[in-house]
Amino acid sequence: MKRELKRYQAIGLVAMAAIALPRAMSADYQLHLAAIIGINTIIVLGLNLLMGYAGQVSLGQAAFVGIGAYASAILTVKVGLSPWLGMAAAVALGALTAAIVGVPLLKLRGHYLAMGTLGFGMIVHIVLVQWDKLTDGTVGIMGIPPLSAAGVALESAPSMYYLVALCVIVSTALASNIIDSRVGRAMRAVHGSEVAAETSGVDTARYKLQVFILSGALAGLAGSLYAHHVTYVHPDTFGFAYSIQLVVMAVLGGMTSIWGAVVGAAAVTIISEELRQYQEYSTILFGAVLMAVMIFMPGGIWRGAGDLYRRLRRMRPGRARAGV
């Protein structure tokens, strides 16, 4: 009960912060960045559930984002559907693809699963590039129309930001509910030991698939939001590099928390943006930082910072505690 209360407090805090943010930030650019962070957060929430709770690695999550983004783009630009319908289709397609691909892939474990998802991601990217009748290939699709609510087009930075923030809050609440539910407990059992879970009567295959499908749906939603926010999609956005970035966000944030998704997404997005000014050195710095964090803080920045804080506290003179 107490845990549930803490969860709702957390979500409430996130909601308040999200609403207050535009007041604090004047520049459109910052709101745009915040929207991107929000979009990444939605994907990472799904990844956290998949990797952190169900213990399944996915190195191809960008593929689902790309599928969602292109679904929205193609349906609104080429077919002329309403953007909301396009978004619904994006979510559905993300979920459907995950379902189809998940059935055979989730039979694999460990490294094999990682490589399987990687291969799937690479193939989706190649299809996006090569099936140019549908996707316009490396030209990309531009002029994606904005979503509109009550007759008002959601084009400005603040309005798009609010939409994304709303989706983040809803996704967070959803994820939080799942974690505390029967499904969540089953997932944690699977992560702890699949064999033990099976013997306790947990239908591991079904739960793994359900989580995978959910992560695909969330990624699809994020992709659709991205398409309408940036109004242009290109295959290279949804390649291996983005998949890796997403995994890094999940791990950096500490895979097992809701907060972690926000922290991880924010950290990596902001760092990548900041590093861009160093141009040539940006890749070098990113790689170095990534390695350093994974070597010294593999539990994520959250836990790493906590460990550091505790260690510093213990080092203060006169505060030696036995057995701490």
Binding site: A114, G116, I295
Partner: protein, 323 residues
């Protein structure tokens, strides 16, 4: 950025033919026409050449995987550095070819050892996903350094013994093709001898088979781990140096080569050295033939094959280790 580079393009390993003769063109045969014997033979030549390179890369993966259980995502970067160092030595410094190749070998071997010491050793005992991300970080770092040192453009390298193609039953074989196949074959034999006949080699195999047991009989496991990284570096570096004349050297050539090399390792059965080489050659031929038929999906062939193997028989063709 992020597009599959020309390197690893099966077609670019074949000598230009006919008036158009542009490098990187999908090939002499237009899709839709039935391939003739000579063109099939041509695909075989470039396929086996490319496949030998994939095999070397796959072998590097296997060595490290066997000794540490880690998938080294930076393996492709070993190849890139091998190519680029060889190019620098031969073109910029004007060193004779054998010295340039040797320099590349030594440099990347050292790189492998350094990577193990600085990145893997400190993170010993971490989870699978952590180690994967560390090697991914290493590959990003190495790629960034390579771009700083050698720039973004593709750099050419002189062929070892000239570029006059030799006719062979209608197929055109470059001397460099023979160099690649010959050197890879020699390396394989040398490695086999190392594993069978030398103390060090046997120690490494023991460590890979059962680390604790090996330590019990006095084999320094951690040193074997570093050796496997160094050896992996050597293989990758050599592969890069010998394929550079055919495919050029570029800072990001490692991405696709690494991934495809890993696909080859999975095809042959990860953990099995013979499987790695076999998988490499097979993948090279499949890709070459596939590229000749339908060039756009050339890159998808490697990943498609890998997915197929993972779904049908994850342990691969010659799979030995269960996990």
């Amino acid at each position: 950025m992020g597009r599959s580079s020309k390197v690893g393009d099966a077609a670019s390993l074949t000598p230009p033919r006919g008036p158009a003769g542009a490098n990187g063109e999908p090939g002499e045969i237009r899709s839709g026409m039935a391939p003739s014997v000579s063109s099939l033979l041509q695909y075989l030549v470039s396929g086996v050449t490319l496949g030998s390179i994939y095999g070397m890369i796959a072998l590097g993966f296997t060595l490290i995987y066997n000794s540490t259980g880690v998938v080294n995502f930076a393996q492709g970067e070993f190849v890139a550095y091998g190519a680029l160092v060889a190019i620098s030595c031969s073109t910029t410094l004007g060193l004779p070819m054998p010295l340039a190749v040797l320099a590349a070998l030594v440099a990347v071997t050292a790189l492998g050892a350094v990577l193990e010491r600085l990145a893997i050793r400190p993170a010993r005992g971490s989870s699978v996903i952590t180690l994967i991300i560390i090697t991914i970080g290493a590959s990003i770092l190495l790629r960034g350094i390579a771009m700083k040192l050698w720039g973004p453009d593709a750099l050419p390298m002189r062929h070892f013994s000239g570029e006059t193609p030799m006719g062979f039953a209608g197929a055109s074989v470059l001397p460099q093709h023979l160099w690649v196949m010959g050197i890879v074959l020699t390396t394989m034999i040398a490695l086999w001898l190392l594993g069978e006949r030398t103390q060090v080699g046997k120690a490494m195999r023991a460590c890979a088979a059962d680390r604790e047991a090996a330590q019990l009989v006095g084999i320094p496991a951690s040193r074997m781990v570093m050796l496997s990284f160094a050896l992996s570096g050597m293989l990758g570096g050599l592969a890069g140096a010998i394929v550079a004349p055919l495919a050029m050297g570029q800072f990001d050539m490692g991405i696709m080569l690494g991934l495809k090399g890993f696909a080859a390792a999975i095809l042959g059965g990860i953990g099995n050295p013979v499987g790695a080489v076999l998988g490499g050659v097979l993948l090279g031929v499949l890709e070459s033939v596939g590229a000749g038929v339908r060039s756009e999906f050339k890159d998808a062939i490697a990943f498609g094959v890998m997915l197929l193997v993972l779904l049908a028989k994850p342990t691969g063709l010659l799979g030995r280790r269960a996990q």
